[in-house]
């Protein structure tokens, strides 16, 4: 590297430094853009050192200097930086080759502080020392620098100067604030542009105003918004003024002023298209050529150039007729609105998100079992029940059970977690929503789904469900819950059997009735255990269960019920005995029939016994009935007469099988 090239190296390094300074100012720590720019600066510095970057750079008047060379700051950006260093009273910056990226960051953050901040912190070098920066040294009559006595070195002249500077700063701050507001307010900025250009043709004044605004905008974190405001206002200028500003000022300035390029690079595709209608084609071609020659990022130049090229080409394209716009009553609009509204309903959104969750389980990048997803799905099951979306809750349970989305290495863990999940869902608080859903439900299909849901969760859930059933007061809901247990079939039998002796007689009766409906003979033993239940309704249900489940084995306990103190139980037993054709039954019935008929209840029981004997239909039964029918009875014993008549009718019906015993 020759000494004549060192200024280029210095300039290149300063440009990187300025880029990084801006990034550090605009973006929070950790932002990739800021980090990226800092790393770029560090790399650039290392490259520049190899190419001869001087170790110490001095701030001179209109130039940067070093031993044996200088860089004149003709470029406005570099001059602005030099001026800034000068106003901060920095005369020298020394950077050691071993400097680290973070030291650059500390330097740039310090440079981004205000004079007052630097002053308050005790000066630049104190700031850098405090941040342990050892490879960068800043020298000069620095703000906040202290003299040897340790007191601020401020004499009367300096005090006056500081007062003046404070006043100027306050005025500049206020002015800056005013322009900050202006670049956020399209209407006011438009008005100001027109005012500046008064009487309407001062494009030069307007251009100067724009040149003043851009550097202010460029330092703001929200500069894109402010650039857009300026561009919108430019595009909205009255046509003659707009043409004049663009043709005579903005476009020629592209050759020398990077800030104007920054402004133009913010034009939208529509802005470019609109320009082609205003500016002569050769001027736009010239603009393209100027942009391509700029020392700017290649891709940016290329894209702006392409946009101009497109806009120029499209100027030639004939206008095609536009299609009519969609109207408010368009069926497409209405149908999409309905679909969108339906899609936002919580239940629908929930169902939709379940699909996404299962997809995410299969696609997660983590090596670990996706416990979090499973937890969320558990919550979704509860939510689905609360939102009356039982099929969805069931679907989640089934999909979790299938485990298709889980990787093979996760399956043991999944099984363990699934068991825990089932256990939690089988708890009272989790089964209650299912019962609540049935309370609200009018959907006949829910019983089957609820049964399937309980079947998946297993015995513990069924037990809880039965407990909730026991506490339920609403008959309609109890009916639905019983339907669910009935739909469970034999899977429910063990849980039902366990509750046949429940202290709630109605629950016990329901359990026995369900066992009868399910028809599992294994439940007989459990039913027999409660044959002497204190409540007659339960005993009657037991009688029915015995007859259905026990077959011939039910004879003995049914016969025992013939002496039950409750008439209904006895009646039920007799009716049921009639369905069990057995000689032993006949003998027992006969014994009862020959006893005196004292009460109306006795009469009813005996009527049913006669009916039962008729349905047994064996010769032994016929003999018994004939003996009753032929019995001699005193005329004032009306009950006995009725019995005799019934027996007589039964004998006749046995001769004619289709005939039935009539009511008394």
């Amino acid at each position: 590297m020759t000494t004549s090239q060192v200024p280029l190296v210095v300039e290149g390094f300063f440009r990187e430094l300025l880029g990084a300074k801006k990034a550090v100012r605009l973006y929070p720590p950790g932002n990739p853009l800021a980090t990226d720019r800092l790393q770029r600066l560090h790399r650039s510095f290392q490259g520049a050192v190899k190419e001869g970057l001087p170790a110490v750079l001095r701030v001179g008047s209109g130039r940067f200097e070093w031993d044996g060379g200088q860089l004149l700051t003709r470029d406005p950006t570099l001059e602005a930086f030099r001026f800034e260093l000068e106003t901060r009273r920095i005369t020298e910056i020394g950077i050691q080759p071993g400097v680290a990226s973070w030291e650059f960051r500390e330097l740039l953050e310090s440079l981004n502080l205000t004079h007052d901040d630097v002053e308050a912190a005790g000066g630049f070098q104190v700031l850098l020392d405090r941040r342990n920066v050892t490879n960068i040294v800043v020298r000069g009559m620095l703000w906040g620098a202290r003299d040897s006595s340790g007191t601020a070195g401020v004499g009367p002249a300096m005090a006056r100067r500081q007062q003046l500077e404070s006043l100027v700063n306050a005025i500049l701050d206020a002015l800056g604030e005013e322009f900050r507001d202006l670049t956020y307010d399209r209407v006011r900025l438009s008005g100001w542009f027109l005012e500046v250009a008064e009487p309407g043709d001062r494009a030069d004044a307007l251009f100067t105003a724009i040149q003043m605004l851009i550097p202010m905008v460029e330092t703001e974190a929200d500069r894109e918004i402010r650039y857009r405001t300026i561009n919108e206002c430019l595009m909205a200028l009255p046509e003659p003024l707009r043409i004049s500003v663009f043709s005579a000022w903005l476009m020629p300035a592209v050759r020398t002023d990077l800030q104007i390029v920054n402004l133009i690079s913010r034009f939208s595709g529509d802005d470019f298209a609109e320009l082609t209608g205003l500016i002569q084609a050769h001027a736009l071609e010239a603009l393209r050529a100027d942009i391509e020659a700029l020392p700017s990022e290649e891709w940016k130049k290329a894209r702006i150039s392409e946009s101009l090229e497109d806009a120029l080409a499209e100027k030639e394209v004939a206008a095609a007729a536009l299609e009519p716009l969609i109207t408010d009553d368009d069926p497409g609009l209405l149908s999409f609105r309905e679909a969108a509204r339906a899609g936002c309903a919580p239940g629908r959104a929930l169902a939709h998100s379940v699909n996404v969750f299962f997809y995410l389980i299969g696609e997660t990048e983590s090596e670990r079992y996706p416990a979090l997803f499973v937890d969320v799905l558990e919550d979704m099951i509860s939510e689905a029940l609360m939102r009356d979306r039982l099929p969805l809750a069931l679907r989640i349970l089934r999909l979790l059970g299938q485990g298709d989305q889980f990787r093979p290495e996760w399956l043991p863990e999944h099984q363990r977690r699934l068991q825990l999940l089932h256990r939690r869902l089988a708890g009272r608080s989790q089964v209650t929503p299912l019962a609540d859903l049935l309370r609200r439900s009018e959907n006949p299909g829910d019983a089957g789904d609820a049964a399937e849901y309980l079947r998946i969760l297993g015995r513990a859930a069924i037990d809880e469900f039965i407990t909730i059933l026991g506490d339920e007061e609403d008959g309609r809901v109890r009916g639905r819950m019983l339907d669910v247990l009935g739909a469970l079939g034999p899977d429910a039998a063990p849980a039902l059997s366990a509750r046949v002796g429940d202290s709630h007689w109605s629950l016990a009766r329901s359990m026995i009735a369900l066992l009868t409906r399910i028809g599992d003979p294994a439940a007989l033993e459990a039913v027999q255990r409660v044959a002497k239940h204190e409540h007659p309704q339960v005993r009657r249900e037991v009688a029915r269960a015995l007859a259905t489940l026990g077959g011939k084995r039910a004879l003995k306990p049914l016969l025992d019920y013939l002496s039950d103190p409750d008439d209904d139980v006895r009646l039920t037993a007799i009716k049921l005995l009639g369905t069990l054709v057995d000689a032993a039954t006949v003998a027992s019935l006969r014994e009862f029939l020959v006893t005196p008929t004292r009460t109306a209840a006795d009469l009813l029981v005996k009527r049913d016994m006669i009916t039962a004997l008729a349905s047994i239909g064996t010769p032994e039964a016929r003999v018994v009935l004939e003996s009753i029918a032929q019995r001699r009875v005193w005329p004032w014993r009306r009950n006995e007469l009725t019995i005799r008549d019934l027996a007589s009718g039964a004998v006749k019906s046995m001769e004619a099988p289709a005939a039935a015993v009539r009511e008394v």
Partner: protein, 398 residues
């Protein structure tokens, strides 16, 4: 240093102290030691801020707290009650502190905020001799909806997304608080658009190639709101759509910049990484318990085409959420009209033509027509210049 340049923490902390002072004033009598202690601390903080600037301004606009030019979304949520009391009961729309504020003036302010005075704010200031605190009356409804306000909200959204981005890059999860803040901000954008629908294009024309993803996300939010408003969706659904749209590209934060900003076509291996970003975005959003799941669905689905091509790969039976379709169209449109390393910005009508040419296999063409109506009927210039394709002859064949 303007208030927008003051460290955010400092601005937030001062307001938190003011809120604390108000709460204490409701619990203790004036001049109680607790109040005096808090008042002293508050004065100290205000004075610290006023060393660097001439004024410290807090403005209340409906549900929004604005410090200087910046919306404070988190504080807007946290101090909602404060804002409500100030505007509805005390008739205060802004509190501005000037350098030189004294402890007596802070005490007077505390008394006013705590119990009111019955005076209008100007009389109160005169009676109490308060000169370094200026109170303004609440802005009228029409003043709360303005283009400046919309731009503030726009930038608030960018800043909030930047915070989320920084957190993700540091390996921190997205938090419910962050998303709630985004909800506040997107609601503010929505309110402005509802008041002035022409803001849709004006805001969506703000672009950035340095921070493409952040600005693009806000633009997609704005465009999606525009489509939602045209559809006549109810307010609640519009707010959900806005949040979902602004978060649609969350997963891109995890994609390396060298892939996102590559100016040449991506290699197959790079595409493989790129295709995962909807899954990553949905994954991040799925980890937020209790948060509405529509944003997760949209983050996951917005790159899936109508024919179920695109990415991530899903079965043909997969049903797209309507909001995913809306965001998908807004996403494609904004992407096409933005200058990027690998492509130039297209004019609006040209971008629409490209969307139409992609056909119903790619997009729901009803949505393209909705977007077209917004573009062709919205005045784009200041003072209501002609909409695209209206007075100006169209340059692009439809």
């Amino acid at each position: 240093m303007s208030i927008s340049e003051l460290p955010r923490d400092q601005v937030e902390q001062v307001f938190a102290q003011l809120n604390g002072l108000l709460r204490l004033a409701s619990l203790y009598p004036p001049r109680h030691p607790q109040i005096q202690r808090a008042s002293h601390g508050f004065l100290q903080s205000v004075s610290d801020c006023l060393q660097y600037q001439s004024a410290l301004e807090y403005r209340f606009l409906g549900d929004l707290l604005i410090a200087g030019n910046r919306i404070l979304p988190r504080e807007s949520m946290m101090y909602r009650r404060f804002l409500e009391i100030c505007q509805a009961e005390r008739k205060i729309g802004a509190i501005i502190f000037y350098a030189g504020v004294t402890e007596e003036e802070i005490e007077a302010l505390t008394e006013l905020l705590g119990s009111g005075t019955g005076d209008d704010v100007a009389t109160w200031a005169e009676r109490k001799g308060v000169t370094h605190i200026v109170l303004e009356e609440p802005a009228r409804r029409e003043e709360q909806t303005s283009e400046v306000m919309a731009r503030r909200a726009y930038f608030g959204a960018v800043e909030m997304l930047r915070t989320v981005e920084s957190g993700i890059i540091r390996g921190e999860p997205v938090t419910v608080a962050q998303l709630s803040s985004l909800r506040v901000i997107t609601s503010a954008i929505l309110d402005q658009i509802l008041a002035d629908p022409s803001l849709v294009l004006r805001l969506a024309n703000i672009k950035s190639y340095d921070e493409y993803t952040l600005y693009h996300s806000v633009n997609v939010c704005v465009l999606a709101i525009g489509i939602g408003v045209m559809l006549g969706l109810p307010d609640g659904d519009l707010r959900e759509l806005a949040v979902a749209a602004i978060l649609h590209d969350l997963g891109k934060i995890t994609i390396p910049l060298e892939i996102l900003q590559k100016s040449r076509p991506l290699e197959e291996s790079e595409w493989a990484v790129m295709r995962r970003y909807p899954i990553r975005g949905a994954d991040m959003l799925s980890r937020l318990p209790g948060f509405n799941r529509i944003p997760m669905i949209v983050a996951f689905e917005h790159q899936i085409r109508e024919d179920r091509m695109g990415y991530p790969s899903v079965p043909t039976s997969w049903e797209l959420h309507p909001f995913s379709q809306v965001v998908g169209v807004a996403d494609a449109y904004d992407s096409m009209t933005t200058l990027r390393k690998h492509k130039r910005p297209l004019p609006a009508l040209r971008a629409l033509a490209v969307l139409r040419q992609a056909g119903h296999q790619a997009y729901d063409l009803r949505l393209v027509r909705f977007l077209e109506r917004i573009i062709r009927t919205t005045p784009v210039g200041p003072g209501g210049a002609a909409p695209l394709g209206a007075e100006v002859p169209p340059k692009i064949a439809g």
